[in-house]
């Protein structure tokens, strides 16, 4: 293959037609409450880990909805599981529980 001295830019667009949303369905069955999230960001604001890097629990939940599992797994590793997020969530979402599940995504290989 020829090189022309530049790289094609990878599209950041989320293609929901191609995203794997089956896990979202599975999550909906297994874990209750997480769909109630309205993206208010109070979890991220209080997060023990968020202040010290790019970790953003609110965004992780949103990425889940979009089926961006690889990114979810990459992000979730930064969670320290302290559970402060649970206390501030106005929609009573157990964000910590979600992050624990997402940490496991690292080991799940997807097609």
């Amino acid at each position: 293959m020829k090189s022309f001295g530049f790289q094609k830019i990878v599209d950041r667009q989320i293609d929901l037609d191609k995203a794997d949303l089956s896990l979202v369905q599975a999550l909906a069955r297994e874990l209750t409450g997480w769909q109630r999230c309205i993206g208010c960001g109070s979890c991220s604001a209080t997060c023990t880990a968020a202040g010290m890097g790019s970790f953003n629990p609110r965004k992780v939940q949103m990425l889940v909805r979009m089926g961006q599992w690889d990114q979810v797994a990459q992000e979730a590793v930064h969670c320290q599981l302290c559970g402060k997020c649970r206390l501030v969530c106005p929609r009573d979402v157990d964000t910590r529980q979600l992050m624990l599940e997402f940490k496991k995504l690292q080991t799940i290989s997807r097609p």
């Binding site: 023990t48 880990a49 202040g51 590793v77 930064h78 599981l81 302290c82 206390l87 529980q97 690292q106």
Partner: protein, 596 residues
């Protein structure tokens, strides 16, 4: 005559049992880490063994813990354990008089009344002894049967035994239970019929035999009854390793391991396996389990252990628990239920690799402080608590360094509770270094969750205190002046402080020093339900747990005082009575003192 074919079912069962159990114990011993094995080697011949034996007698035979809980329940369990044990011991002794041998076949004492009755000739000098044995053995049989009767009653009247819920049995348990319940009535009938035909029974068997002989063809019935008795015993022994009755042997194993292996043995795979077998499925934990009470009995330890025994670790059961320790506090066998659940979680969640190292930048210090203060992340959501602690430090003239002033990182306990031990270790290491770097000789925390992990896993060379203990000390030393101004309230002891610990006692003592003389403190033994231990479960159950907890904690609608920011926040959500941290109350009282 010392043999009859009917002894075979019993003998085969017993032999099978011995082989299986021996293999299990061997497996557990082999599986122990070398260090523990060395400790055991040193302790076998020492006072540890005596202590172990004493505990086995106390708990295994007399069931002291159950007596304490409910005398009827204690009596029931004791009648089985002690009664059967004495039947075996005395039966053995008795049999020696007849056989004149030191060693008899194992079945001989069990079926002695078949082989030996009145027509049996004894040397003259021993002729008074059978009467004593006949009476005693019959008495013991009656004692066991009385227990059996209570067991029947308990199936339908569990509340008489201080229990609301009872356990449900699996198939092996059911058959074993049936066999066990048959053993003693069959023995009674076999011995009575034999006595009816040949004489030689005691007050119970003789009388019953004589009475029944009037209308039953005992001479045809007694032999089949011995078969049935032997058969019941055989079945029971065969099923024992696979049923809850394995607890009889495993409990002894656990007690021995605990005394011989020290605290290190408690977190070994072998101990977990042995202790999960040691559960007698008595069901005492059921009424303590708030998750069970809130409608999810599957999460209770007794159900959890049943799954573990079957080789399963269902996620919702392993993760639904609050880790509140209430079950562990009452377990008559003393099983380390929290550790066991923790172990299960590690199996589920612990194997995922830890990728990210925690990032952390502690604040710079100017001088070495008296106290390094770790408020804990939850405390940051309770500014009243933070402020009270700061002002109390100031009043007492304590030089402190606030390690997590900027929010800091997590103590590691929450990660640990999820079973992610390695992840917790990474956090612990960073925090530990920061604590040591502070140079302080004392670490104070507001959060019992942090406190638990600081004590148990940080291996710190400095003293660690929960703020309640620390403020008690400051008051005792006169560094803080506090007026007794508090009216009646409910004291809520946080689970992670451990209700059975000296820390909890100190918190109670502190509370008693805050109230006006005539005022009452009622103590709540409930977990607030907001525990970080509960990793998953239905929202409705979680809410019910907390609703129940808040209801039971805020008794008489009096204010609640606790020592944990998480409990505070959780209870606040579910009750209308004021909920505060004990530090906030101390601050108010000390401020009042200053004004006066």
């Amino acid at each position: 005559m010392t043999f009859d074919p009917f002894v075979l079912p019993f003998s085969i069962g017993l032999l099978y049992l011995m082989v299986v159990v021996a293999e299990r114990f061997r497996h557990w011993f082999v599986g122990l880490p070398p260090k523990v094995k060395r400790t055991i080697g040193k302790r076998v011949i020492s006072s540890h063994t005596l202590a172990a034996i004493w505990e086995i007698i106390r708990e295994g035979l007399f069931h002291r813990n159950l007596w304490r809980r409910n005398p009827l329940l204690g009596y029931m369990h004791m009648s089985f354990a002690l009664g059967w044990f004495l039947l075996i011991v005395l039966g053995n002794i008795e049999s020696r008089f007849y056989s004149q041998l030191h060693v008899n076949p194992p079945y001989y004492p069990i079926f002695l009344k078949f082989f030996v009755h009145d027509s049996h000739v004894l040397p003259f000098e021993l002729s008074t002894i059978p009467g004593f044995f006949r009476f005693t053995m019959d008495f013991l049989l009656l004692y066991v049967l009385s227990g059996l009767m209570l067991a029947w009653i308990k199936r339908t009247r569990s509340r008489w035994f201080g229990m609301i819920s009872t356990t449900r049995h699996n198939a092996a348990d059911r058959v074993a239970l049936t066999a066990l319940w048959l053993i003693f009535p069959l023995r009674l009938l076999a011995e009575s019929f034999t006595a009816g035909c040949f004489g030689g029974g005691g007050f119970l068997t003789n009388t019953l035999g004589a009475a029944l002989a009037s209308f039953l063809p005992e001479e045809h019935l007694y032999y089949p009854l011995w078969w049935a008795y032997s058969f019941a015993l055989g079945v029971f022994f065969m099923l024992l390793p696979y049923s809850r009755y394995m607890h009889i042997l495993a409990e002894m194993g656990c007690i021995m391991l605990k005394h011989w292996g020290g605290s290190e043995v408690l977190t070994t795979q072998s101990y977990y396996e042995c202790s999960m077998q040691a559960c007698s499925r008595c069901g005492v934990c059921l009424d303590q389990c708030q998750v069970a009470l809130a409608g999810n009995p599957g999460v209770s330890p007794v159900s959890f252990i049943r799954e573990l025994r079957a080789g399963r670790i269902p996620k919702e059961i392993a993760e639904g628990c609050l880790m509140c320790r209430r079950c562990q506090d009452v377990c008559p066998v003393g099983i380390g239920l929290i550790n066991l659940r923790q172990w299960a979680r590690e199996q589920l969640n612990g194997r995922i690799p830890v990728v990210a190292a925690p990032r952390y930048s502690p604040v710079e210090m100017k001088a070495i402080p008296d106290v390094v203060w770790f408020a804990g992340c939850m405390s940051h959501l309770s500014p009243g608590l933070i402020r009270s602690v700061q002002l109390l430090f100031k009043q007492a003239g304590v030089k402190y360094y606030w390690l997590d002033a900027d929010g800091s990182i997590c103590c590691g306990r929450p990660a640990q509770l999820t079973g992610r031990t390695a992840e917790a270790e990474a956090l612990i290491e960073v925090n530990r270094q920061a604590i040591l770097d502070s140079g302080a000789k004392l670490l104070v925390t507001n959060c019992p969750i942090c406190y638990r992990v600081f004590c148990d896993h940080y291996d710190l060379p400095i003293e660690v205190m929960h703020h309640s203990s620390y403020f008690l000390r400051l008051i005792d030393q006169g560094q803080l002046q506090v007026s007794r101004g508090l009216k009646a309230f409910n004291l809520h002891i946080p689970c992670e402080l451990d209700r059975t610990s000296v820390d909890a006692d100190r918190m109670k003592l502190l509370a008693s020093q805050l109230v006006e003389n005539s005022e009452v403190i009622s103590q709540s033994e409930w977990c607030c339900g907001g525990s970080l231990g509960r990793l998953s479960g239905q929202d409705e159950v979680t809410r019910k747990i907390s609703t129940d907890a808040a209801f039971n904690t805020a008794q008489s609608n009096l204010p609640v005082v606790t020592g944990c920011p998480l409990c505070k926040k959780t209870l606040q959500r579910y009750t209308k009575v004021p909920v505060s941290d004990i530090a906030e109350q101390i601050y108010l009282l000390s401020a009042a003192e200053k004004v006066n």
